[in-house]
Amino acid sequence: MTVTEHQQSTYIAGQAADARIRFELETEGMTLNLGPQHPATHGTLRIVVRLDGEQVVWADPVCGYMHRGYEKLVEVRKYQQITTLVNRIDWLGHFANEVPFILAVEDLYGVEAPPRAQWIRTIFFEMARIANLGLFLGDMGVQLGALTPVFFAFRDREHVLNLMESATGGRFHPNFDRVGGLKEDLPKGWVDECRTVMKRQRDFCDEMEELLVGNEIFQKRTRGIGVIPRQIGLDYGLSGANIRASGVDWDLRRDSPSPLAWKEVDWKVWTHPDGDAFARYWVRLQEVREATKIVDQLLDGLPSGPIMAKMPARLRVPRGEAWVSTENPLGEMGYYVVSDGGPGGPFRCKIRTPSFNNIHIVPWLLKGVYVPDIITILASLYFILGDIDR
């Protein structure tokens, strides 16, 4: 059953109207602090919620508990050191944070990584998506009370992380991307190992489909909850699966000219018309499946050749500005790098993270919603705290 536009707005209007009536009756509502230590927020996000009974009158997210001041730190570091810092922003999508930054710097410097490096970067990018969204598929279950899916997620994600460790050395923080290519090439036997892991990930997706998507209680808890109309989503700058679940057919991997190897692989961008919590879960489930297919095709067509373009030992990036954004697991992540031509690092580096905008819609979305639905909506938006606070 899909929720039409009309149905959704009546639901929200009804909820809000009830909330207002009770509000006008001057019943003294309760202000509740969800967080910063709360099981439902991935990290330290605090949401001040004013309740009337179990319904939310208004909600105001308070962030900054994990503000590490990335943009200031980046200005005092060299390009080489920044990739280490930067893959700690969205700590679940490890490799995917480094890629846009490195692409921006390569764009400024005017160098192009050799094809083999681009293909391996794309493989790692999609594996970061699988690891990141794989955890979401399990985590959404535990937020709604089902204990087992999250263990399946962690169990199957382990293999992807082991693959990353065997190739890059780090499970969570690979630091494998260099301006002009990659640090090293893949170890022997990695490609076959990767194929078996991709097969296992598809089985994991089928298990999730059986365990949650088909489950009536899950559908009752997520259908028609937290509906984001297309226009409101764009107005707040939502990106990634959140906006594709509201019917916007936009994916930076296909729509923006990126040197990585997505063009050489045929894959499909999944969207869903409803825009509710179920749609977001469903779109991410299909995206993980699609990512395993992409990786398989990339592994088949992996070109051979050098892994690193010829680069000088001391990197001096010429003066200029560049903006590169890629389709990270959580949404559009972009770097606006300004270089002053000096020997050190970038002059200014604005880091655009997807969760910052994804969470910005929460005050609008949580009006007139029940308390258990707050958790469903927050879980379905799938933000990472490092992304919001930078």
């Binding site: 962030c63 900054g64 503000h67 001041g69 943009e71 200031k72 730190l73 200005e75 005092v76 060299k78 764009d107 005017g110 226009q231 409101i232 764009l234 107005d235 707040y236 700058g237 990106s239 916007v248 936009w250 729509d255 923006s256 000219p257 010429p318 003066r319 200029g320 500005e321 560049a322 903006w323 954004s325 559009e332 972009g334 606006y336 300004v338 002053d340 031509g341 000096g342 020997p343 050190g344 690092g345 002059f347 200014r348 604005k350 655009r352 910052f356 905008n357 910005h360 819609i361 609008w364 606070d389």
Partner: protein, 243 residues
């Protein structure tokens, strides 16, 4: 027009070539970009004199408008050219950054005047130039046309302030709060300018270049300890400076 000779472009040049004074940046004129040039032309028609400089570079459109025309420019983009997605809004402090990397001791002292730093200590601007210390920039994206644009505006160096675009894009609210908190830009008409990340009693604007990064002051740089001189050696103390 900016006196520092950044890319300045007058009139109706069909394909805007980025004439960079420095040899470093490539000065080759771009081949006409079918997707973006009509947009630049349409903007020139809509904004007229307010469009100070515009450039199509690195397959992106960069436009600079005066601070007064900021709201109008964003409004034109949103209504007439259906840029419905707000990517981000942020600021830049163009004051020359104290050069951390190349020198031995990483203490913070006012930057030496190097090449590329204009007389008033403001560093060479980026693609669309600019003349004041602070610049606010917003990046909008149109989903149907698969097209992005970065809009910039120079703000006054002493009291930077600009019209808030929250009435146009609700998503700009937090971005503006962050810019206010980090750079000190005042956004007129913003629903509630309060701290987003920093504690409420925090003074100063951290992202400004003259705001010292204390982490580097507190801990002395371990590299300072150089190989001490040879006992009774003849040559001068060995400072192993590999640069």
């Amino acid at each position: 027009m900016s006196d520092t000779g950044a890319t300045s472009l007058e009139g109706e040049a069909t394909e805007p070539e980025a004439t960079e004074p420095e040899p470093a940046a490539e000065a080759v004129p771009q081949e006409p970009d079918p997707l973006r040039d009509p947009l630049v032309q349409a903007l020139e028609v809509d904004l007229g004199a307010d469009l100070l400089t515009s450039a199509v570079e690195r397959n992106d459109v960069w436009v600079r408008v005066p601070a007064a025309a900021w709201f109008r420019a964003v409004e034109v983009l949103k209504t007439r050219h259906d840029f419905d997605y707000i990517c981000f809004l942020s600021g830049i402090d163009w004051k020359a950054a104290p050069d951390f990397a190349s020198r031995n001791e990483r203490t913070f002292d006012p930057a030496p005047l190097e090449e590329g730093v204009a007389a008033d200590g403001l560093i060479e601007r980026g693609i669309t130039g600019g003349d004041t210390r602070f610049q606010v920039l917003v990046r909008l994206y149109s989903i149907e046309r698969r097209l992005g644009i970065t809009l910039k505006a120079d703000l006054d160096s002493v009291a930077p302030s600009v019209q808030s675009i929250v009435p146009l894009y609700r998503g700009a609210d937090w971005h503006e709060r962050e810019a206010w908190e980090m750079f000190g830009f005042d956004f007129i008409g913003h629903p509630g300018l309060r701290h987003l990340y920093l504690p409420s009693e925090f003074e100063g604007h951290p992202m400004r270049k003259d705001f010292p990064l204390l982490a580097r002051e507190v801990k002395p740089w371990p590299g300072l300890v150089d190989v001490e001189p040879l006992p009774g050696g003849d040559d001068e103390p060995e400072v192993s400076e590999v640069s």
